[in-house]
Symmetry: C2
Subunit: 213 residues, 2 copies
DNA sequence: AGCTGTGAATATGTTCACAGCG
DNA sequence: CGCTGTGAACATATTCACAGCT
């Protein structure tokens, strides 16, 4: 292992994920290698940025040729922690939960949803594909017996903090949080927020601000 | 208008949205004013950051007291462009589209979904609340007649680019994109990506990387 | 010749620390 | 005296530009 020890920034990691996707697309299109410029176009960044990001992990590129698609794809996959299997639980079987459960990219990446929990007694007992929705009360037990490492949190804002804390106490180490609240959790838990309200408001800000120029 | 002209960064804008939410929460809890430290806690940042961010738009705070919740809330609302009404179309009536259509925060913010389009003939004609899902072919016409400014794009990755380009040609100026593709559009269109695959992979990266330390 | 890898230059964002107001 | 507002110090991220490999 000659992985360089420089910790990449949060945004660099997000770009790695975009590069991985671009490589998959290009490979499907029959390409074999790609210059930084092309990856930049597909990932919405600049060629220099691509080279900086990738060079932080080693020398993958071939001068004069670009980056070999297949081997770089494999390497990014590994770097992003996708070679390993992750056991995921979905908490909240509402509309957002349903959308995420079906999200094709999650399955394609090998994320295995091994349990679903919901507080609504009308939903518990129902099956989604081959998984039975279990009551919220069984969450801790289920997380432990299923060895869940990551939780996708898709519950209402009002219960998110409590539910997240319970999931953590049951041993979860990562949370993808869709609830619009800032979770207060111990620092050894990795939390990533997906905040659609914030994204939409960032958009209206730009549109609103633009008229002034 | 004494708005200072400094253009805030992308991440500063996102924080403004979080401060707005925090202020709404605090107001609901009966608070009247809040020091930067409290806003920071609720928004997941630091007190200094809160003060810097807010001071870029004027002097809202009261020394010794903190920030007056109600008036700051109103001001942030205005700054984020939320005072104005936005006419929104939802493109793609699949699971993600359904989840977004019901997302409580969107309605609460006054975003009005005035049209829904989908390519699937099985879905067109169906009503969601009081809106009939229209066929994709009617998109341009519908966007124009309904004076749609913002599109929420929730279609499969394969059709996203084409559909987005059509929406833009019909006059849309902002897109909230849920499709996992980098849209290639003219620079006068504001695009904001919500990429769940990227978020999840940023999480696995951190979890994976952590073991090495 | 084409394109990477990378130091150096620049730009941007964050934290510190404290003067000064209420 | 508490807490904001803000320059100055620091830290990070991005872009430039070019030497050097293939």
């Amino acid at each position: 292992m000659t992985t360089s020890p420089r910790k990449p920034s949060e945004s660099a990691v997000r770009r790695l994920s975009l590069y991985l996707r671009a490589l998959e697309e290009l490979q499907a299109e029959g390409e074999v290698s790609a210059p930084s410029e092309l990856l930049a176009l597909r990932a919405g960044t600049t060629a220099a940025q691509v080279r900086k990001d990738l060079s932080a992990f080693g020398s993958f590129g071939r001068r004069g040729l670009g980056y070999p698609i297949d081997s770089l794809r494999v390497r990014l996959h590994e770097i992003l922690g996708l070679s390993r299997k992750w056991r995921v639980a979905l908490i909240g079987a509402g509309r957002i939960g349903a959308a995420l459960f079906e999200y094709p990219h999650f399955r394609k990446r090998g994320f295995e949803i091994v349990a679903i929990f919901d507080a609504d007694p009308e939903k518990t007992g129902t099956r989604w594909r081959d998984i039975t929705i279990r009551p919220a009360a069984e969450m801790e037990e289920g997380i432990q017996s299923e060895k869940v490492q990551i939780v996708i949190l898709a519950v209402p804002a009002t219960s998110a903090q409590t539910v997240a804390a319970r999931a953590v106490s049951a041993g979860v180490s990562g949370i993808l949080n869709f609830a619009p609240v800032q979770l207060q959790l111990p620092p050894n838990v990795e939390v990533n927020d997906v905040d659609m309200a914030v994204e939409l408001e960032a958009l209206t800000f730009s549109l609103h601000a633009r008229k002034r120029s």
